[in-house]
Each structure stands twice: as C-alpha cells, then as structure tokens.
C-alpha cells in the first residue's frame, strides 16, 4: 500500500473527529511547547551566567579574606579582615605564573559633586585591576602605581555613577567628594552591565587601595586579592601555592581551617552554570512528563478509534488488506497526530519563549537541536503509544470485525 494514500486516509480519519483530534494533539502540543520554552529559558539563563562569568576576566583567581567555614561557623566571604597588603606583595613576589595582582578594598558610601549626590560602592584597587578584569576606560586615564604609593586622591568612576552625578556632562577633571573627601576624577569606565548576582557593576567608584585605606575606609586589611595568571594551566598550581603561602604567612597549623578563601574563575563558572544546567534539566524533565501524558492521550484515543472502526477494519481485511497494512494505517494516524501536535507545539514553545523574553525580560536561547529533538520525540511518542492500538487493529479477525456492531 502506498504511503501517500495511507497518509490521505489518516488525515481523513483525523478530520472526521476534528475536536477529538485537536484535544488529543493538545497533549503533545503542550508537552512539546513546554519542552521548547523550558529549554530555551534554561539555556538563556546558562548563557547569561557564562557571559557574566567571562566578564570577570581571564585566568583569574579571587582570594577573599575570611573563610566560608571559620571554626565551623559559616561566615561570608570577606567578612573578617585577615588579608594584608603584605600578603598581596608576597603573592606577587613568590607565586610563579602570576602576571598581575590587585589589592582590593570594598566599601560603600555617599558621594557628591555640586548639588548632586549618590550612594555607591567604593572600591580600592591596584592599577592592574583594570587589566585583570578586562575593564577598559571609556574616557580619561586610570590611576597609576605612583598614585598608589602616594595614596593620591584620584579615582575613576563607573558609567552609572557618572550618569547619576554628572548627567551628560563630562566628569573628567571634576572633583568628587567621597565621604566628604575631595577626589579628582581621572577616568570613566566602559559599561559592564549586570553581575551574575544581578548588581549593577557600573555603579562604582574605583580608587587606589591605599587612598581607600587611608582617606575613606580606614583600617589596614584587604577584603580580597585579585590575581591573574598567564594561562589556564597555571590556575591550579597557582591556586595551590597561594593557599600554601597564605597558610604559612597566617601561621595556620595543619588541620585548621583557612582564614581566607581561594576561588578560581573556572570554579565560579562551574558552580553558576551547574545551577543553570540543573534548572534546565529539571524544567525539561517536567516538560517531558507532559509529553508522556500527551502520548497516553493518543493511545487512549487510538484505542477508541480502533473500536469504533472495527467494521471498517473488517472491510479492509475482507478486500485484501494485510495485517501490516492495517498496522501501518493506524500507526501513521497516530504519528500524524503527534507530529502535527509536535510542529504546533514547537511554534507554541518558540512563541512562549519570545514572549517571555519580551515581557518578562527573561533571557531565552532557542537551540536548534532542542527543536529537532522535540519533533522527533513527538513523532516517536506517536509510534510508541500508537503501536499497541494499531497492533490490536491489525490482529482483528475479519469475520468478527465484519460482524461487529
């Protein structure tokens, strides 16, 4: 029997019960739509996290003062001031593979210029910071090592801070009062956007760490040290050596917890994308459940259809149809139903993810493999759940089938 005429028969049978076919296909439509939408949301989240992680810079190791578990008590990173400027110098001096180190001090505070004021984050860093983080200046120049030595009152500001205080006029050369201390603005940073945690990275003021220590924040400890190594292969050994060096410098006996935390960028990226990946899998799994439910719906309706059309099957067998012809007919019917449902479901899923990204501003990423897979899975669902009813039809005895009322 020709495939084309079988398809024609299948379409006619499906048209005969339009509402029923639509409702049956709806199970698949929703299932496939959900898979496509969920995977696109998951992928979108993952790629966003990845691009944010990449904005940290390349081959970066971050050292925070304080431990995640200090004496069994979980404290935040950077909570205890255990890192010193000398630690940073030791790393710079002793750890091989290190190409750049930036001492880091973090604070927040009120800043003002003219009649404008703004509450923002205040970072003290080394000049290398801008290289480590791959954060070029939009305008002006960075502070220099000399500024660090002199603890000069100079700073560069982020795009958001610049906009909030100076509007459209240039902040270069202006005086900014940071916690009441006047600073000269030497540069404006390029815009970096949101961080993985969702904070505005451009809402910032960066000054030499010495200036931050002496003139703004006070204290002698660092919140952290940013280290850049030459190549990805240097990451692990450098991390180990930094850990060993700092333990030695902090006189931590073996068996005791570190009073600092070392993370490399890869670890941060892995943690973040692992979360996104688990989310994608979870969403896809839930969506797959609805696909299975849709498949059961198809099986149910095909069983009803076979019973209803017992006489038709009897006639077809009587005029010479083989069992295989009947099997093919009902299988194609089921696959047609599920494949059409799959195509509509794909369109629905694409539409949903588009709407989500437009109205809810969720990052979505459509992946072609997921579309192709969704289509074939829906067709496979039709074959899998259509097989049993079709086989039942093919096994009918022509005499019994013709006599069926």
């Amino acid at each position: 029997m020709k495939i084309l005429s079988t398809l024609k028969i299948a379409f006619r049978a499906l048209r005969r019960n339009k509402l029923r076919s639509v409702l049956t296909a709806l199970g698949i439509i929703i299932g496939v739509g959900a898979v496509i939408a969920m995977v696109s949301i998951g992928n979108g989240a993952k790629s966003q996290v990845e691009s944010q992680i990449a904005s940290l810079g390349e081959n970066v190791i971050l050292i925070f003062s304080g431990s995640v578990t200090a004496s069994g008590v979980h404290t935040g990173w950077g909570s205890a001031g255990t890192l010193k400027i000398e630690d940073a110098e030791a790393i710079r001096r002793e750890v091989p593979g290190v190409v750049a180190v930036s001492d880091e001090i973090v604070s927040t505070g009120q800043v003002s210029a003219g009649n404008q004021n703004w509450f923002t984050r205040i970072y003290g860093e080394s000049p290398e910071y801008f290289d480590i983080r791959k954060w070029p200046l939009e305008d002006g120049a960075s502070f220099t090592a000399q500024d660090v030595r002199g603890a000069n009152k100079v700073c560069v500001i982020g795009a958001t801070t610049a906009r909030q205080i100076f509007g459209s006029s240039s902040p270069l050369g202006q005086i900014l009062r940071i916690k009441g201390v006047p600073f000269l603005i030497t540069g404006v940073l390029t815009s970096k956007g949101l961080s993985p945690q969702g904070t505005d990275q451009d809402d910032i003021i960066i000054m030499p760490y010495t200036s931050a220590m002496k003139r703004v924040v006070g204290g002698t400890t660092l919140r952290g040290i940013d280290v850049q190594v030459g190549s990805p292969n240097d990451l692990d050994p450098a991390q180990q050596q930094i850990t060993a060096l700092l333990r030695q410098r902090h006189n931590i006996r073996p068996g005791r917890d570190d009073d600092f935390t070392v993370r490399n960028q890869q670890e941060i990226a892995e943690t973040a994308t692992a979360t996104a990946r688990v989310m994608t899998l979870l969403l896809a799994a839930i969506a797959c459940v609805s696909l299975v439910v849709g498949g059961i719906g198809i099986m149910n309706i095909m069983l009803v259809s076979v019973t209803e059309r017992t006489r038709e099957i009897g006639v077809r067998l009587a005029v010479g149809a083989h069992g295989r012809d009947i099997l093919t007919q009902f299988l194609i019917e089921a696959v047609t139903l599920s494949a059409i449902g799959g195509v509509i479901g794909i369109l629905l899923g694409l539409g949903t993810s588009r709407l989500l990204s437009i109205f809810a501003h969720w990052p979505t990423l459509i992946s072609i493999p997921s579309i192709v897979a969704a289509f074939f899975v829906s067709a496979a669902v039709g074959i899998f759940f259509g097989f049993y009813p079709a086989r039942e039809a093919a096994r009918l005895d022509p005499i019994e089938a013709l006599r069926y009322e």
Partner: protein
C-alpha cells in the same frame, strides 16, 4: 454444468472449539461450482451456510478437507496469503453494505485496489472505478458519500467495489437483507446482468424468492448439503419489478 470449475470443495469440515464443546458447523461438504454459475445457498440459521460462505470467501479455513479456488488449494494458506487471494479472486457484497462512511462512492470502489499489486496511477484508478460504477448504473454519483445515497445505490457501490479487481467469484451475503422488495428486485437485476456477462456469483439468502433469481439453489441443513438443484422457475428482475410497480422503469444494464 459449466465447462470450467472455479470452486471445488472436497469433504470440507469446520469445527469450532468453543470451550469444552466442539461445534461441528460444516460436516463434510463436497461440491463444484463452475465458471459463470449463479448459486444461491439457503438454509435456516445454524445450517452451516454462513460458515461455508466464510470458507468460500477465504475469510476462514476449513478444519478438514480441501478447498480449491480457481485451481489453487487455499485450505492451508496463511493469513496474508488468504488476503491476497481475496483481493485478486474474490469480491464481497454484504447485507449491511459495509461502505466506508464519509468516503465517496469512487473511493469506496477503489478500496481493494489500495491493497493490490497493480501499478496504476491514481488517475487510472479513478477511471477504472468510474467505469465500474457506470456499469452498475451509478454514473454521476461518483463523488457522493454513502449517506447521500439510497440503500439500493449503496449496495450498487458495494457491488462495484466487489467488481473492481475483476474477481473470479462474487460472494454476496444476504445482499437484499436490508432492502425493500422493489430495491431487492433491482439489486437482483444487477446480479443477473453481471451473471449474464459471465461473472460467477455465490449468494447466501434465507428468502426463497430471492434465491429464485439464481440459476442453482443449494440448501444446507445441519452442516450438510441437503438439496442441490438448478432453479426451474427462474425470476427475471425486469419481470418482478414490473409486477411491483408498473410506473417505474428500471435501468438494468445491458451487457457491454
């Protein structure tokens, strides 16, 4: 009898095993039906005529004995082989027409060709179906669905479907069972004219007057042939129709 034997039954038995009791529906039937015959099987219910009809129609296999259809022993064939025999050598007409609903007369007639081994294009299929429909007096109704046709017209579609593959034998199971007497006469007229064109017809009926349209009557009883004689006073469809209604002119086809 006719010169060429189409159907040959040799001591055919059919035993149904239903639980503990074996039902011996056909208890040893031997007969021959020649090409061009028009045979009516009669008998009360339980006489075995329906079982014999199922065997003759290759829908069922004899438990014992041989059945040769057109010289081929079909008693031991597998399910799919029987399906091919039904497709090539047999045509079926049922009491309840058994047309596919919401399917045009033309497509109903084409149905057996879907399962055949021919290499016809869909255009050739249509032409062939239309020609057969015309020969049973349904020219112009090719696109009608069964629900748009009268009982008699539906049965004509069924007859056309039975004829599409140019079968050796047309099997009709109570073909007038669902029709009024005038339409029954019309349908018997169609069968008679087909028979005059040389088509072998085997019919099952429980009505003696319908059987009188045939050339040969076989009466079954308790699984055996009780009576097998040529029809002496044969009805002609045209004559019967005239008796039923003088005003209606019937279109009974002339042989082509």
């Amino acid at each position: 009898m006719a010169e060429q034997v189409v159907v040959r039954l040799e001591d055919v038995h059919k035993i149904y095993r239903t639980g503990e009791v074996d039902v011996h529906a056909v208890r040893g039937v031997s007969l021959e039906i020649g090409k061009g015959e028009f045979v009516a099987f009669m008998g009360s219910s339980g006489s075995g005529k329906s079982t014999l009809m199922n065997i003759l129609g290759c829908l069922d296999r004899p438990s014992r004995g041989r059945y040769l259809l057109d010289g081929i022993d079909v008693s031991g064939l597998a399910r799919d082989e029987l399906a091919d025999i039904r497709n090539h050598k047999l045509g079926f007409v049922f009491q309840s027409f058994n047309l596919l609903a919401r399917t045009s007369a033309r497509e109903n007639v084409e149905l057996p060709l879907l399962y055949g081994t021919h290499r016809l294009t869909s255009k050739e299929l249509t032409a062939r179906a239309d020609k057969v429909l015309e020969s049973v007096g349904l020219a112009g109704r090719e696109a009608h669905h069964p629900s748009q046709l009268s009982g008699g017209q539906q049965q004509r579609v069924a007859i056309a479907r039975a004829l599409i593959n140019e079968p050796e034998v047309v099997l009709a199971d109570e073909p007038t069972g669902n029709l009024d007497s005038r339409t029954s006469a019309e349908i018997m007229g169609v069968f008679q004219s087909l028979n005059e064109r040389g088509i072998t017809i085997i019919m099952v009926t429980h009505e003696a007057d319908i059987a009188s349209y045939a050339r040969r009557n076989i009466v079954m009883r308790d699984g055996l042939v009780q009576y097998d004689q040529p029809v002496k006073q044969r009805f002609s469809a045209a004559g019967e129709a005239r008796k039923l209604s003088d005003s209606v002119a019937l279109e009974v086809e002339a042989p082509t």
